[in-house]
Amino acid sequence: MDTTLNQSNRTTSVASSERNRWAMIRGHKFRRNLVWLLMSLPALLWILVFKYLTLFGAWIAFTDFKVRRGVFGSDFVGLDNFRFLFATDTAVRATINTIALNLLFISGGVIASMLIAWLFYEIYTSRLTKFYQTMLLLPRFISWVVVGYFVYALLATDNGLINMLLRNFGLEPVSWYNTPQAWPLILLLTSLWSGMGIGSLIYLSGMLAIDTQLFEAARIDGANKWQQFIYITFPIIMPLLVINLLLSLAFILNADFGLFFQVTRNQPLLYSTTDVLDTYIYRSLIVTQNVSMAAAAQFYQSIVGFVLVIFFNWIVRRIERADEPLALF
């Protein structure tokens, strides 16, 4: 009896201290989550106001929008506003060009950025690093209009630098602005020139977080630089890569208008390889200035990107490991 009593006493005391401990933990957990929620609140509020409240504007794509009547007062016209995006061969070609060029830019950009980030990482202690990084970032500050002039100075048929070099070597000068086949490459180089500063910076900041002891261990084990990259660096910056790829998918139908319009100087002969959805939309709507059609175009670009991201995010979620979340959500 004594033991049973003692036992029950012990159970009670154990139970109560257990309960207390649980209460403490739950209390802690609650407080923790509360703090996190409070920390996020300002940004969440901003997102709510600036992104969600304005979403109703997407309805404009389905109406014959008359501003004074408001978004919901204008007549509903279904999918009429979307027709111009598919009506002609040119329109469809614009979509194809956009996707193809974006895929080219993404792959080229990722490879170039990662390589350059790796180069930086290798010589990070050098005093010249600061200089290189600044130089590589400079193109980002130059607007596309100016880049357009500059590319023209290079590629002009008569006095362009490239053609003058060709003539010096006895080769035939090329009329670049009349040769559509060359332009995916030209635009890729221009896009890389402009973006590799930022791109490499992002991957570099990821690389800087890697514990150097891992590299020491790998070197002791006899791994060379390339192997170190594949087995140590690459997996650690994988999350950044996945994010960038998923995001690029979200914007697969969007293109940098400045790049495609200014650098090509809007030359019609180059449209077959450089006309993208954004420039096509610009040309179509510059005459009618139809707000509904512009909204429809934007909606089209968003919805395709949205579907792609949801789909690929789901795939990533299926193949990722539980302790290393890669997917966006």
Binding site: V71, S175, R265, Y271, S284
Partner: protein, 506 residues
């Protein structure tokens, strides 16, 4: 009319209106405060227009307010918006229902037709004969018809050169150097330019500064060159065709001829192989790199203007017959906003600015004695005041007479211009009116086709205009692309509207 979007829809999610303060337009209240205090009780008209900021704009505004207060019982606020920002800002101002009274509108900026479509402009056609009798009488009824859209007149037309007699301009020094000045003076068609261009090319090959004969060959494709009244989407109506049949421009014989001429010129090497941007063509002209502008508007006083603008003395020859078209007449207008609280007073302002030369020149040139003074009052010639070197140094020089009102009332700034206005008015009067003067196409039922055509025109039409593709091939592709984009549907719709308009106005 105050709120654009139903408050309920937004406020339902979050009571956001409480979040902000009452931030006001601080800059604008400054402007208002500076103006004449004596007339504070009078209604104030707000006038929006594009322009570079002028140092003395407030002084001019005050002077105008004093003048207006005595005559129409209102004051004015001049709100110039920078050129690059005007289109964007005014469309946002319109969209949000912000208050203003008068705004500059045109087919090429703050689009007149878009504004009417979106109900941003007030209909003033009924008020004009009553409240602006002199202004109304200064233009023929047919001219006023050009601004009529869907039954109402939505803007006050600024009288200036309406017709577009296109023709080539050639630098005087070059044409004399090759000894063909007489040949140029007796020009009757663009094909006759061939020997002149060839001679100039020879000259250019020897000269250092002159690099090419000409730059923009596509200029001769402007439809008025061939006696056509251009409508949207590559459709035209012949000015000689009283039955007003709509044709596809690129399928006419004249177009084919023009394109072949361009191709011939391009292959002969008269133009550079890279088609440059307009701004660079101007820069090249200033630098003396070419000699001919193949097609531009030839008008009284035009030679002096081109010389002042770009530096070289020129002669010109009009090749196209002056034609009065809707587009030409509605080149610049001042509209009354549909949210204006004082549309009647705004119309009376239009009367004042369009028929009172003193008031008009106050707005255009500034205050007499401060910004300008008479050089020869009899001839209406003025010069910068107080010995300033040019009008640009006086503190007020918007230099946009064509924006503010009747250009023919403007004082002459240079002796070579004297007499230009009566001559131009004569030109307008004697011009042949197009069979569809006063008709405006409503493209809302074929907007998809209009958008598609707009996109393909640039792609297939431009190479023809620059001469870089073979004509037969290029024409076929262009025509096919237009057909695919639905140009026939647009043409049929336009014809239907024209026929309806004709029988209604008959």
């Amino acid at each position: 009319m105050a709120k654009v979007f139903s408050r309920r829809t937004v406020l339902k999610s979050l009571g956001l209106a409480a979040a902000a303060g009452g931030f006001n337009f601080t800059g604008l209240s400054k402007l208002a405060a500076a103006s004449s205090r004596r007339y504070q009780n009078l209604p104030r008209l707000v006038y929006l227009y594009p322009g570079a900021p002028q140092a003395d704009v407030l002084a001019v505004q005050d002077a105008m307010s004093v003048y207006m207060a005595e005559r129409i019982g209102a004051t004015i606020e001049l709100r110039a918006i920078d050129w690059g920002a005007y289109d964007g800002q005014i469309s946002l101002i319109n969209a949000s229902g912000e208050n203003y009274d008068l705004g500059f509108t045109a087919p090429w900026i703050n689009n007149y037709y878009t504004n009417i479509n979106q109900e941003y402009l007030a209909s003033i056609g009924d008020m004009l004969p009553e409240l602006a009798p002199n202004y109304w009488a200064s233009l023929t009824p047919e001219t006023w018809e050009a601004a009529r859209v869907g039954g109402g007149i939505y803007g006050g037309i600024n009288q200036q050169i309406f017709v577009k007699p296109f023709g080539p301009y050639i630098r005087t020094d070059i044409i004399e150097a090759v000894g063909l000045a007489d040949a140029f003076a007796s020009l009757t068609s663009y094909e006759q330019l061939d020997p002149i261009m060839a001679a100039i090319k020879e000259y250019a090959d020897q000269d250092d500064t002159l690099t090419h004969v000409t730059y923009n060959l596509a200029q001769i494709l402007v439809a008025e060159n061939w006696g056509f009244d251009p409508q949207s989407s590559g459709l035209i109506v012949r000015s000689t065709d009283e039955s007003a049949q709509v044709e596809i421009y690129s399928q006419t014989d004249e177009y084919r001829q023009a394109v072949e001429t361009i191709r011939r010129w391009y292959q002969a090497g008269y133009a550079p192989s890279d088609v440059a941007l307009w701004s660079e063509m101007d820069a090249a002209w200033v630098a003396g790199q070419y000699a001919v502008r193949v097609s531009d508007i030839v008008k009284p006083g035009g030679n002096a203007e081109v010389q002042a603008r770009w530096g070289w003395a020129v002669t010109s020859k009009a090749l196209a017959e002056p034609l009065l078209t809707t587009g030409g007449v509605t080149a610049t207008l001042n509209g009354v906003s549909s949210v204006s609280a004082n549309p009647e007073i705004a119309v009376r302002y239009l009367e004042l600015v369009n028929s009172d030369p003193v008031f008009y020149n106050l707005l255009c040139k500034g205050i007499q004695g401060t910004h300008w003074e008479w050089a020869d009052e009899g001839q209406q010639l003025i010069r910068p005041a107080n010995g300033a070197a040019s009008f640009g140094d006086t503190g007020y020089n918007p230099n946009t007479d064509w924006m503010f009102g009747n250009v023919f009332n403007s004082y002459y700034g240079d002796a070579t211009q004297i007499g230009a206005w009566p001559e131009t008015a004569e030109l307008n009067r004697n011009a042949r009116p197009s069979p569809i003067l006063g008709f405006t196409f409503d493209g809302s039922s074929v907007e998809t086709e209009v958008a598609s055509i707009s996109a393909v025109t640039q792609e297939f039409g431009s190479p023809l205009g620059s001469g870089t593709v073979d004509t037969a091939e290029g024409l076929e592709r262009y025509n096919q692309a237009q057909l695919d984009a639905g140009i026939e549907r647009v043409r049929d719709e336009m014809q239907r509207q024209i026929d309806a308009w004709k029988s209604a106005s008959a």
